[in-house]
Symmetry: C2
Subunit: 216 residues, 2 copies
DNA sequence: TACAATATCGTGGAAAACCCTTAAAACAAG
DNA sequence: CTTGTTTTAAGGGTTTTCCACGATATTGTA
């Protein structure tokens, strides 16, 4: 049982593999595949673009990908991208991440990692594979921390971020309530909504995300 | 009420300030000042060196400090250093941190921050002030993550680290118990010991430390 | 203005976490 | 072989979290 349905669009340059992957995606309970195409260009004139949650993008070279993503994201900032690509170079990884992809893993990733990445992305979090992280680490830290966060923050309301911060600061529900002058029950509601939106099931999960988001 | 007593040695190059700071330290309930000196060199031939928990080190220039610390730590790896120093340069910060100081804050830090740093260090965690972190971020990431961790891990037993990992992975007590084939009560014991050792009061706190330690 | 998202507050109940105390076996180090 | 730490465990509590159902007011925006 999943708490969410991700309306997903698949981009894969090889028709056969595109089809195969599409079928495979359709079998996943929380994925609703709304379309597929061989390149990002086909995507732009789609009428139902704004109903899409996640774009799963297979790219064999990351040359112009970053700017295309940037262009699309400018029109539809809520769109999330999960990029599957070859092991990146330190130079390319930077601009790709800055373009605002929410997830970035290499082709060689295990199914398990794919799952993790997809769930993270479709729930508004970010996920970078080990190889990507390594390259990012070689590049400057400054460009790496701030960029991917906004997606997540936009996804949460102001109040929710506030609650998230306090939860991750070891405040109890009661304490948060009195701090914000609202009812315990309201705090619980927010907390529950956070669970749902972030796809975790308790405060420990929230805390890890809060750390990753940098709200603590 | 504190859960710990930190046997502390103070190093300050200026006699007057050394005396003043020493007195100030003595007033703190969980500090037991076991000695003071004007330089690290005085420290090496101390007979009771291995009964010391924390060395609070005021250093106006960080030139040779790193190697001195390294030398001392080689003989007494359990010794923790809290370094008070001027705002560091990107070059110096790296080697200082690599020398294994557990805490590093600037002279200008507020009392509040001093307290945080001291508690962290004496409990085997690490604490770097904002300024230090910034400089570290400018330097490479790789050199920054791994070094300070071992102190913390030494401080925890193997089993405790294991429990910590599972807690931070959103496992419930019952789940952990069945995973490790031990009683719920045992898991609770470990969890409580972790609270005590790490100076936090719930699993959210543990989680944050686990993330910092890199066990998740 | 109507619709969606957000923020608010509730009941009731089950599960998990947390607190205090005690203590025995296993083990390493001195 | 004693001493300290780790790992194990239990009884008997309180508090907090989490879940499953609501419900109403506010706000922003198409």
């Amino acid at each position: 049982m999943e708490h969410f349905i991700a309306h997903t669009f698949l981009v894969h340059p090889h028709p056969l593999e595109c089809e195969a992957v599409a079928d495979w995606l359709r079998k996943i309970s929380y994925v609703e595949l709304v379309g597929k195409g061989s390149s990002l260009d086909h995507l732009i004139q789609l009428p139902y673009l704004k109903d899409i949650d996640v774009i799963v993008l297979f790219a064999h070279q990351t040359e112009n990908v970053a700017e295309k993503i940037l262009k699309i994201r400018k029109l539809h900032p809520r769109l999330k991208f999960l990029l599957l690509a070859p092991s990146p170079s330190s130079e390319s990884v930077r601009e790709v991440v800055r373009s605002g992809v929410s997830g970035y893993i290499v082709f060689e990733s295990e199914l398990h990692e794919w799952e993790l990445a997809f769930r993270a992305v479709s729930q508004g979090r970010v996920y970078y594979g080990q190889e990507v992280m390594l390259r990012l680490a070689e590049s400057s830290v400054e460009t790496f921390i701030p960029e991917p966060i906004p997606t997540t923050k936009d996804f949460l309301s102001k109040r929710e971020v506030e609650i998230l911060r306090l939860v991750a600061n070891e405040y109890t529900t009661t304490r948060i309530a009195s701090e914000l002058c609202i009812s315990d029950k309201t705090v619980e509601s927010h907390r529950r909504n956070l669970f749902q939106k972030l796809g975790v099931k308790n405060s420990v999960g929230l805390t890890k995300i809060a750390v990753r988001m940098g709200v603590v």
